[in-house]
């Protein structure tokens, strides 16, 4: 594994939909390379016979009754939204009109 470079930071920031300033790109590139250097220790461990642990809980497929319970009202669900339109969250158009 190699140290993270500027273009990797820019690419990942774009995947994560985070706008970074020029200063942040430069700073994060250096800092994340140091952190990844420490993380690269993992490659030294032989895990060919080891199963991954996603959760330490001994639970799988937790089921419950399918009951209808009261939920949030429209007003409650919309109360924290930056922009609304009637009973809806308002967002910018993602498709152009023809």
């Amino acid at each position: 594994m190699s140290a993270i470079d500027r273009s990797a930071v820019e690419h990942v920031a774009s995947l994560a939909r985070i706008g970074l300033t020029e200063d942040e790109i430069v700073r994060f590139t250096g800092q994340l390379s140091v952190v990844l250097g420490a993380v690269d220790k993992l490659a030294e461990v032989d895990t060919s016979a080891v199963h991954p642990t996603a959760s330490v809980l001994p639970l799988t497929n937790v089921m419950r009754e399918d009951l209808v319970l009261p939920g949030l009202t429209h007003a409650e669900a919309l109360a924290n939204a930056p922009s609304t339109d009637g009973e809806f969250f308002r967002v910018q158009a993602t498709l152009e009109e023809r």
């Binding site: 990942v12 300033t21 942040e24 420490a38 993992l42 809980l57």
Partner: protein
Amino acid sequence: MTRGAASLLPRTIVEAAAILRRREASSRELARLALERVAADPYNAWLARADERALAQADAADRRLAAGGAPLLCGVPWACKDIIGTAGVETTAASRMLEGYLPPYSATVVLRLEAQGAVMLGKTNLDEFAMGSSSENSAFGPVTNPWDPTRVPGGSSGGSAVAVAAGEAVFSLGTDTGGSIRQPAALCGIAGFKPTYGRVSRYGVVAFASSLDQVGPFTATVEDAAIVCEALFGADPRDATTMPLPAEDLRRELGAGVQGMRLGVPREYFVEGMEPGVARAVRAALAVYERLGAELVDVSLPSTDRGLAVYYVLQPAEASANLARYDGVRFGLRVEGPDLVETYRRTRGAGFGPEVKRRIILGTYALSAGYYDAYYGQAQKVRTLIKGEFDAVFQKVDALLTPTSPGVAFPLGAKANDPLAMYLNDIYTLPVNIAGLPGISIPCGLSEGLPVGLQVIASSYREATLFRVAAAYERATEHHRLRPPAATAVAGARWAGHDPGRRRAPGGGGMTLAAAAPVVGGS
């Protein structure tokens, strides 16, 4: 109140409950006293106050106490880390992203404490989205340490630790993903406990790293930690990662002592990097356990030094997925751009602070095509090895004893530009989250006038044993009674500033024993 006008809050839940039952103070009087101290807090420990709500809860508690049969927590003032959702009380996770957010519902842990009649004073400051070990990453300014306001209180639950250490609340809740309860408890000289993963509901808690996060208490004593956990523990139909276990008396072994117990000392936790004063205090604590009749057992957890690497893959990876929800659509900040993608980018660029951005980028990188197996997949496998080593050790010992943090509280800004140095603060606490185990930090003395924490780790779901081991040490020592000087000042008085002469007085001469202070109804 019947005792002293310029009084202090009771230090413990047990003491508060006794005062309330002896009618020496009403819950309303305790709440008013606490709210005065909160209003005068000089450490930036609080982000929101809930005065009216607290007084209404206190009045309800007083009616319940008058009727008799009220639970121990009834009428006791507490502080809530501001990453835990509280209906109608602003919940920000110390982020610009959530400034002004009013949750439409409360977290299960909040409802459970409300059901006991506990009185919530307000919301405490933290590292943004709980990402940090110093409480400096808050968008609303850093928290300072009452033992020395030029130093950090630890983090991420710094405000909740300070609230209890400074006598502004009797207990508080924090969250612990890699040490965020235990490390600030150590640096502030109080008890801080992270339960076994799955013991406490995460419903309504702002998600950080879902396979690691757990809610737990800050308290003045081990017994108090057990009392709070009895209220918090138990399966929640709204959180499928809670274990369906029967309710448990967690205090049943508190007085049993450690005579004949086998306590493991993992040699990998006593290596380079630890401050000499911390090593001295922890070694002295081990000697106390021997004197109390425990057998210390040298054990090995060989993968300990992989813990940091595992944690700094899994935790940012999970965080990057959890924080994808902050898109400026349903709640939180929106910074509009020319199109939707640009709106996302601007919103997240403006709403998240530098540490949050670093972790999202690191996590997204570890999950991205070509790197997933090498980072995320491999980290999950090494997680299996770390957990297996703990499981094997717990076949031989009843509990483990380690330092909580390699150092004492450090000066503000000292590690701000070196993320890796900051991450190393949690080197002794994060393996416990990786393995899902319960761990507590309790005070074990001072180094250079600042508190040192001893960590007790037990096997999964063996909290009663953990509390037994921690309580035995607490009973045999006075360290848990040490308070920062400012905490014993008259209510409402403000910290007069840093006084190195007092802090570094030899033999802890500058410290005040709470037992000697005019505590309301002090026992």
